[in-house]
Symmetry: C2
Subunit: 447 residues, 2 copies
């Protein structure tokens, strides 16, 4: 593929446009989009205009918002209108949401009153809701059609539909009565009735449902499209798998960001400004910095212990880091299992019991390794070595149990478990770990 793209680039630079046209129309629209994004604007427009109209609309859908804006301002109103007509409704809504208002006005010029009403309705669905993801280009059938009639209906109307692979059977009030896949239609006798072979145990979602729930329905039922109904069970749109794949990535990115104590943002990293990036990170850093002061206060309270055995200070980083790492391991596994639906609220005790046992194993191993290292290799006095290792053991056990409890608690309280991740766990465990450290030191070293 790469090689062929380079050939085209070469032809463009040599201005052999007839040859370019001949070759490029056989390409996949995604590859054409990739190719013209890297060109000078004038060349982009030139190539774009060479494309047959429906291919042009396809290609338009795959280029970046920035380039879309540039193309919109460079082509004629006729060309623009054609592209708008060809775009699927959900892609047009996405475009309108991203474009500056000047461009939006330009686009809306070519829609009639009814369309504009519909566009407004769609723009008003809350972000991340099923309504904001759906499209209106689906195939609807009636119960009393025969399979042959249904296929003819699809043949006649399907060209503008986002998918024809799942068709929706509705009554005269647009209430959803069943669904039937093109697969079933093709594999059935032509004279059967749609109503007799459609599925009635329908998986559907509501316009106001969160996109994460929609994605979970796709995963659970292996869907390639899902119908969206309004409050009165009327079919209002469908959502297709290609948009859900994007949602899954988006939801995962959000979890990654929350778990690293960043306010989630949907924009790509390189497209996000420095000030926005800083703002998204500052709030949590300040909260965690101030919380870490409590840990500092514990040290102040035990200043006398440190003063008499300064060597104790040298093990603070190791204790804090190991506690934080042990806790974030547990928290991450639990948060991820909750997100994938592998752990439910009812499993809380099982999870804690499991983490407790894991922590005992890990705690014993780490403490032993550490004792061997500092007592025998570094010749640290016996009671100090013992203090460090007892603290290490307690810290690991505590960290793992807290790392399991906090996300489960968040789920119970209907908060997002992802915020109970590494940074917060570290801060909580640090304070506890130092308390244990100094108390054990006082007791064993008799300070």
């Amino acid at each position: 593929m790469k090689k062929e793209l380079e050939e085209i680039l070469q032809l463009i630079h040599e201005k052999k446009f007839t040859e370019v046209r001949e070759k490029i129309i056989n390409f996949n629209p995604v590859n054409i989009a990739e190719l013209i994004e890297d060109l000078e604007l004038s060349e982009t427009i030139l190539i774009f205009r060479m494309l047959p109209k429906d291919l042009a609309a396809d290609v338009f859908n795959y280029i970046s918002n920035e380039s879309q804006g540039k193309i919109i301002s460079s082509i004629t109103s006729n060309e623009l209108q054609y592209i708008m007509d060809e775009l699927f409704f959900d892609d047009m809504i996405d475009l309108l949401e991203e474009m500056p208002s000047k461009v939006v006005k330009e686009i809306l010029k070519y829609s009639n009153v009814e369309e504009r009403k519909l566009i407004n309705e769609f723009l008003n669905y809350p972000e991340y809701s099923a309504g904001s993801l759906m499209t209106i280009e689906y195939v609807d059938l009636k119960k009393n059609m025969t399979v042959m009639q249904a296929i003819e209906h699809i043949k006649a109307t399907g060209v503008n539909k986002e998918t024809i692979y799942t068709c929706y059977v509705i009554d005269e009030k647009r209430k959803l009565e069943g669904i039937i896949s093109l697969r079933n239609l093709i594999l059935s006798d032509y004279d059967l009735k749609v109503g007799d072979i459609m599925e009635k145990d329908i998986v559907y979602v509501n316009t106001h449902q969160d996109q994460e729930e929609v994605a979970n329905a796709f995963k659970k039922y292996d869907l390639i499209a899902v119908p969206v109904v309004d409050m009165e069970d009327r079919l209002t749109g469908i959502i297709t798998i290609d948009d859900i794949v994007d949602v899954i990535d988006q939801e995962n990115t959000e979890d990654f960001q929350k778990m690293a104590a960043i306010s989630p943002s949907e924009k790509e990293y390189l497209d996000t400004g420095v000030w926005t990036l800083a703002k998204n990170r500052l709030m949590w850093l300040v909260i965690l910095m101030v919380s870490a002061t409590f840990t500092g206060n514990i040290i102040k309270k035990f200043e006398d212990v440190l003063q008499s055995v300064v060597l104790l200070t040298a093990f603070i980083p190791m204790l804090m880091d190991t506690g934080g790492n042990a806790g974030s391991q547990s928290a991450t596994l639990v948060i991820r299992s909750i997100a994938l639906g592998e752990i439910q609220g009812k499993d809380t005790l099982r999870v804690i019991w499991k983490e407790l046992r894991v922590s005992l194993i890990v705690g014993v191993c780490l403490s032993s390794i550490n004792f061997l290292r500092i007592y025998f290799l570094e010749k640290v006095p016996f009671y100090i070595s013992l203090t460090v290792c007892i603290t290490l053991f307690c810290t690991v056990v505590l960290a793992k149990v807290v790392g399991a409890i906090l996300p489960m608690l968040a789920k119970k309280l209907k908060l997002d478990p992802a915020i109970m991740a590494s940074p917060l766990i570290t801060t909580v465990v640090d304070a506890a770990s130092l308390m244990i450290y100094f108390s054990v030191a006082r007791f064993l070293l008799g300070i």
Copy 2:
């Protein structure tokens, strides 16, 4: 849905099995699977036997491996053979990989020599390769068929195919010549030739390609199925979108685990034994614990500074935590952007420049807030407050830049960027941060 399931449960407990059968056959197989998983084994088998045979095979595919094993050992050979015949090839391979060898032998009894050869071949594809994901049930067409002939061919052979929505045009040597969607077939004139309307710019993958690359192809081209070819470009199988959705989740889970310093494991959390969980976490904890000793050694080297101003110790946790958090924010964003293909190797300098500017903003804010708090509220002496805040500023800048550089470096070295996450960054930044702290203290406090 929930309510209907409860009704069925009620009927089962009342042993009204005729009514159960009448109701249950209208259910979605996923819901039936969910229902019978929670029953006693004897009831599970009973309900399972009530189902029409092809529904039974469908349901079988959606229940857990554990229940599958139990059902296999409880049903007759005839019943088992039927299910094996009905399962798609990729699902059967998955089943064979998970079952204990006793059960595998039982299953293989019902396959003939040729099948067994094919099964062996598939079991030998490396884990996580395209070959291990693909299935052999696809529709193949010939170039010289008309659209009508193609549709008739699909009608005759499609019932056992995993998808009929994308069909593959091959020559007599099984070399892939083009693909055509059922959509295009249905929407085209019946007497056109397949060879004239098929797509020739085909997106395909090789059997040995990694599943992550396959998933990226699906995302980039909005596919619902992709053909898999061998070294000689012969079509050997196809991969469908439902399996790719699982792959995306799996790859994300792997990243989450690596980023929390856990050796990745594919098994669900609750199904993983305590010893395995402990083993997966220990290696990294030991590595990081030993690395943290360097930080301890820095403290030992500067013992005299701490001895004369013990108060300095109280700020160590806050400095370490904030450095770790600031670094892991940057690392997470960069790792995630690399995983999603938003950042390439060529963007390294842009990323570092961006993080440098963000870190200056964040550093100034955090240091100022901290200075106000400790100097004015906690009445910490001026030069100590200044030492803490200068160190905080330098730590944040360093952490963010290191957090950006390490994942980019990993990518350059063809390592997985995900290992350059929070735990490793924290360990690196801790040491640097303490070095800065004590050096500034020596200079400003004249110790």
